[in-house]
Amino acid sequence: MKSDKTKTAFDIAKPVKKSFFHQLSKQRQLVLMALPAILLVFIFKYIPIYGILIAFKDYKASAGVWGSEWLDPIWSNFARFFKNVNSWNIIWNTLKVGAVTLFFTFPLPVVFALLLNELKGKFYKGAVQTISYIPHFLSVVVICSMLNGFGSTTGFFNDIREFLGMARVDMNAGSTYFLWNYVGSAVWQGVGWGSIIYLAALSNVDTTLYDVANIDGANRFQKIMNIDWPTIRPTATIVLIMNVGTVLNADFTKILLMQNDTNRSQLDTISTFVYQKGVVEGQFAYSTASNLLLSVVCFILVFSANMITRKLDPENSLW
């Protein structure tokens, strides 16, 4: 009975309800195990959330977050953002990049998965699949270096232009080709990888459904639309909701690399603006305020996307 203490550390069958601290001390080994992760999450996720307060303060590094004076009026940083001449341009850019990206990167993996599922020949199918994943593993710096090289006057994109009878131009200068480069590379990188979850769902289709469809004389397209698509629709819905939430979080690490002196102000999005003002120029409070605006809008977007889904397609909503 001596080792009783360790053995019954978390016996569910105890009928008497013990106090919280009593249970806690009994489960101290579990607490100890969770502790490193708890500390990391608390320090690096929660303290920065508290740090958002500086958006409302006249932040002085010497005084710290709490010691700095509140702004008067308290929303001055937000007012300043909207008064900025360039701010509407920034908001428009953020929406444009996000929306166009979503428009292409969400449906194309679905189409790719449906087509790949129709492909005959197990080996060939596997090879195409494997090849299609490779671009996913490239870093954003590699992608942008490629775009930078391909778009230069002697690069691959300009070889195509010349082949099509167009003049060679520097596609990295200005903002004319930015969106094509940005979205095109996102599709190239993501279409194979994004199709994995759909292919997983498709591999679970009950094959007798195809036999029944064959007896009914359904053609390939009808089978795809009536068997395959309904199978992956729940997954697609969830992916869509998640993507809508990140629509304003365009990959700004990519945009930062694609910006140069000829197009910096034209390509600014909220996230690059946050980086520029905060980290480069040291306007911490102003940058944090802009970032907070972005987070709030993103949260509203996920929430509304989910609300709409719940109305249209109640079974597939996220919550």
Binding site: Q27, A34, F44, I52, Q129, S145, T288, S295
Partner: protein, 303 residues
């Protein structure tokens, strides 16, 4: 009756031929797509090895023309590529170790039904999936903790992610709880149960997520841009960023001279560095790609 059946056969035939044509189209189309997925890699390698004359007249496509190695020689002479590799490997190993250990420990405790902190910790983690402090508050925190220019700044802030914890927990839940009960009755502590039973039974999980985290670190530059200014401590992606995107840096003085002579194209050095930055990942890719695909499914189905 005979008439209708005839019509039906005709229709079936049409479907049959249409279906065949579609198959052929698909085979060709997928072949074309594969080419599009692969061509940029081939082109980058080919250009990095070709002479300036061939590059500037647009004659390099799949294979190098007039092979020169000047781009690579220049790159390795001017930049500490081996040092950057070493830094990246150390950061990747450190990050992966902290990530796997902390995530496993937390996920295990959250799997236990009567753990008193279970609900509180789960909700706290969920919140971090939707809210975050953002760039500047995190930056200030790292600065205040004195982690600037230290590799810890690249390891600790993102070491525990809520999504990973939940995937690990689902995976552990798939292991029969009777095993844990039995071990407990035999007097094993929870730490021992995790390290000697759960971890060995979750090899697929660790293979996948370990590799994910190595790739993630290998490919990231933004945290290093924020936190590590010391050139000798920077990871490989920062070197590539410097070479391609920071024009007019004195570090490439010799290169500029060479370019002036017309021996080399600037793309020689840039693409040589692109190859150096992506090659290690591409070399291990064939060996690990099946785990990646499996892991995505673990995350998608159970997460």
């Amino acid at each position: 009756m005979a008439k209708t059946s005839l019509i039906k056969t005709k229709k079936e035939n049409r479907i049959h031929y249409g279906s065949k044509a579609f198959d052929v189209f698909l085979i060709l189309f997928m072949g074309l797509l594969s080419l599009i997925f692969l061509y940029p890699f081939l082109n980058v390698v080919a250009v990095s090895l070709s002479s300036n004359q061939m590059i500037s007249t647009g004659q390099v496509t799949f294979f190098p023309r007039d092979i020169i190695f000047d781009g690579y020689e220049m790159l390795f002479a001017e930049q500490d590529i081996w040092g950057a590799y070493r830094n990246t490997v150390i950061i990747a190993i450190g990050y992966t170790a902290v990530n796997l250990v902390c995530t496993s420990l937390l996920a295990y405790t959250l799997m236990i039904p009567d753990f008193v902190l279970k609900k509180f910790l789960t909700v706290s983690l969920l919140i971090t999936m939707f809210f975050g402090g953002g760039t500047v508050p995190t930056y200030l925190l790292v600065k205040n903790l004195g982690l600037m220019n230290s590799w810890w700044s690249l390891i600790l802030p993102n070491a525990v992610g809520a999504y990973n914890v939940f995937v690990y927990r689902s995976f552990y839940k798939g292991i029969a709880p009777e095993i844990r009960e039995a071990a407990r009755i035999d007097g094993a502590s929870d730490f021992k149960i995790l390290s000697q039973i759960y971890v060995p039974l979750s090899k697929a999980l660790y293979a996948t997520f370990g590799l994910f985290s190595v790739v993630q670190i290998w490919n990231s530059y933004y945290d290093a841009l924020l936190y590590v200014n010391d050139q000798s401590k920077q990871p490989i992606q920062m070197i590539l960023r410097k070479i391609v995107f920071q024009k007019g840096t004195d570090s490439m003085g010799n290169t500029a001279q060479m370019l002036g002579d017309g021996v080399m194209n600037k793309l020689n050095v840039q693409y040589a560095c692109v190859v150096a930055a992506m090659l290690p990942i591409l070399v291990i890719y064939p060996f690990v790609q099946k785990y990646f695909a499996q892991g995505m499914q673990v995350g998608a189905v159970k997460g």
